[in-house]
């Protein structure tokens, strides 16, 4: 079981919890604004862009090649950007806070 917080662009903060699936699915299931997941989670649309807290980035890890390329579609990309359809919900991310990029 992992509890995480999404901070949205309108400065809303949503705490959600889940134990499986992707972080994108968890966000969509909880109606987190700015996480669309239009492609259903196959890293094809770049509509689930989040910023990972720099302190957590080593734990989360960097994007693989396809994801890193897809992130280039978004002008708001930073070194802490990830597409959250590529992050698994697990105890490893428990307690983390993610900022929604759009």
């Amino acid at each position: 079981m992992a509890k995480v917080i999404f901070v949205t662009q309108n400065n809303g903060s949503v705490e959600v919890e889940g134990d499986s699936g992707s972080l994108m699915e968890l966000a969509v299931a909880n109606g987190v604004a700015g996480i669309d997941g239009d492609c259903g989670g196959v890293c094809s649309c770049a509509t689930c862009h989040i910023y990972v807290d720099p302190a957590d980035f080593v734990t989360i890890g960097s994007a693989e090649e396809v994801e890193a390329d897809m992130l280039e579609l978004d002008d708001q990309v930073t070194e802490y950007s990830r597409l959250c359809c590529q992050i698994e919900v697990s105890e490893q991310i428990d307690g983390m806070t993610f900022v929604v990029a759009n």
Binding site: N30, G31, D38, C39, G40, C43, E67, D69, M70, E72
Partner: protein, 442 residues
Amino acid sequence: MQFPAEEFHSNNGAVVIIGASHAGVNFAFHLRQQGWAGCITLIERDPELPYHRPPLSKKTLQSAELKSTPLKAEKAYSDNNIDLKLGYEVTTVNQSAKQITLNDGQCLHYNKLILATGCRAFIPPVLGLEVIDPLNNRSIFTMRTYADTTAIKAALNNSSDKQVVIIGGGYIGLESAASLIAMGAKVTVIEKQPKILSRVTSAVMSDFLTELHLSKGVELLTDKDVIEVKQLSHQYPHQPPHQYQHKQVVVCSDGSEYCADFIIVGVGVRLNTQLALEAGVDVEQGIKVNEACQTSNEDIFAIGDCTQQFSSLYQRWIRLESVQNAVDQAKIAAQFLTGKLPQGEPVQQTVPWFWSDQYNCKLQIVGLSEGYDELLVKQESAQQFSVWYFKADKLLCVEAVNYAKAYVLGTQAIKQNLLVDKAALQSRDALSKETLFLAVSN
């Protein structure tokens, strides 16, 4: 486009949306987010909580645990005060009374009506295919709804030979083939044209995908016209009667016959325009809409696969069957209805994009290749390449296989109207923004 008077965007009044797939659902949520205060009713004949369609032929079919991928959580509809009516059919639209009727006799009034009616799988006029009742027929399927996927999965599990014939070598047929192969089926794909995907792609991509499917064990037959589907009842000796002892035989015009436990028909779609016609709005290849997705009736809008819209990017009327188009049109229509589209400026042109996943190949497409006069292939390896379609110097489309970088650069070039250096595509150097884009073209 004429922007209507201020009172048009009252942000109030009853909005009725017919169709709750990608377009209808996204529209409902965007409309609420944009501040619409009135009722939003979303009507859908499919009883399932609205779901992503693209995974049906891929993840949904293959996953051990059969479940759909919901577009939104069930709770999100009530949280946003969206009245979701699943399992209802709209029987009539009365545009003068601004009313629709449901199959249970309920009448609903609307101030704005949104047609997000999409399309349905086309069943070609072939002997033996005339009556496909997905609820009762356990041998002939289409691939359009969650119920279709569920039925196909059950048929595969219940068949001992796992022999499948897919009629149609388009994206639906090929994705289904890839999934079924992964599930241990023996798959035959029968395509009428000399090449698969010939309507939508070039010989380069068609040949690549042909080789891919052949290498995975698909029997891929082209230039074959199916003329009849026969049912063969075979009594196996020493076995109890079983419903899947019926075999289907697909007969082609050249006399060849292919045996199957079940058949998937994937030969394209027909648009659901009946309600639009009944409402009296202009329908040609699709429901005609302006940049704001408004039909010829100012209170009726149409979004998604069922529409036909003028593309300023491609300078022609286009009709798209895609998630991107459904979502983008939903956003624009919601912004227009709430008065959020910048007035006096052209509506921002969206660029079409598509994807398909087959085996371990990720195909990503941006733009439309129709009308190209030159294509260049940028190849990184046998499994990683991209096809760049030009008309003179204008980049029309990029198709990328396992090559997200090419897809992203292609998207940027088309969106920003950048001039692409063809020499950079022909060189052996890795693709980069710095070498690929020459300057902003006019």
